[in-house]
Symmetry: C7
Subunit: 88 residues, 7 copies
């Protein structure tokens, strides 16, 4: 099954971070329940961004619409709410 975002949107899947990753991104305590890091699963027709499936991104908390795809939580988010790309 395939969910294809429309327009300037992406389908992302949040990454559950370990609380004390050594040298990695650790989210502020107040945001622990709703992580801000995600993996790009599918992209729509992005206007300005160069992102593809598999990219790791940071997105605005509370942005986007939550849906389940194949039983797992995903988020459809507007490209403008993706703040940064993470390169390990």
């Amino acid at each position: 099954m395939n969910v294809k975002p429309l327009g300037n949107r992406l389908l992302i899947k949040t990454i559950v971070e370990e609380k004390k990753t050594e040298g990695g991104i650790v989210l502020p305590d107040s945001a622990k329940e709703k992580p801000q890091t995600a993996l790009v699963v599918e992209v729509g027709n992005l206007e300005d961004l160069d992102l593809k499936a598999g990219d790791k991104v940071i997105f605005s908390k509370y942005a986007g619409s939550e849906i389940k795809v194949d039983g797992e939580d995903h988020i459809i988010i507007d490209a403008d709410d993706v703040l940064a790309k993470v390169e390990d």
Copy 2:
């Protein structure tokens, strides 16, 4: 009888999902009363989207205006509120 959406709008008909579809889209519990998946019934003059009658889409909860057509619930929705297309 035919309801033709005007401008950048679509006429859609929500799909009542089974609660535990194997490998399918399962809506979060908080959205159970108002599903987010729908079938496109009629399209207006869509500006940027390539959608046609019969397509399965995911749309923003609370978006659109509810009407009944031939006794059944439908929604007239702005194309910008259609988030994604579902391909099985």
Copy 3:
């Protein structure tokens, strides 16, 4: 007497629907007091829409300004608030 809407507006006259029309549009109960179906009476200089007097339309509840013409209730409505055209 003639009321000519100015700009991108229409003069419409709401249609009082029977509650259980067979195979017709039935409005949701919560909207019974203020129907959403209307007949186009006069059009202004419409920008994008192809509507004329006599067309049957569905419009956004609460949109428009109510006036009486020749003693009967009418609504002057912005063309953007006309959602769909109904073809029987």
Copy 4:
């Protein structure tokens, strides 16, 4: 004395309608204190509308700024708030 509206504005003078004009415009009871019908007195540089002094118009309740000219109530109103032209 002459009050010349600037930009996309008109100077109008409300018409006090008889309550039960035969075959004429009768305002809804809730709007009785503030009529919606007016005579155009002066026009500014109107952008899209073809209106001139002497035309009878219907305008949005509450729109415009009230001033007195030669001791009589007038309203300076934005052209976008003039809904329709009335032709007898």
Copy 5:
């Protein structure tokens, strides 16, 4: 001393009207404390309006910023808030 308005603004000086001018502009009672008639003192780079020092104008109540120039009350006002020009 000279105060030169910047951009699409004017420097105006309110005119204190006599309460019962014969055949002149009389402000509604509710606006008595804050007159709406003014004299243009200086103009900035006006975009669409043809106004010059000495012109008599009507402006929106509450619009503009009050300043004192040479000990006298003035208002710097956006040109869009000048409603009309008064010609005696």
Copy 6:
């Protein structure tokens, strides 16, 4: 040390006026705590205005962000909030 405003902004330094300057700008009593007159210290890339360091300006109360430069209060303000230039 040098603070260079970015974009359509200016760095200004408020001028503390004497309360009863003869023939000068006297601020209304309600604004005494926060003067509206300032000296331009640095300009960013101004879009439409012709202002330079040393110019005396009048700006909107409450506009801008307060910072200290070399121990003294300054304000970084959007050029659109500068109302007028004062020429003595």
Copy 7:
């Protein structure tokens, strides 16, 4: 690890100022808990600004999204919320 801001954004790291720096920027008391001075760490595709990693900037309090990178607090901020560049 590298966090690359997307679009018209920057990754910045706030600078903790000494309270009484001689001749330097001292923040107003009310802003002590959340400094307004920062070092640019990474830039996205900036539209109008000429800023690079290592630049010292002043930014709007409350603007931006807080994230931790390698265990340290950073802010992803829209370029429009960067008020000025500081040159020592």
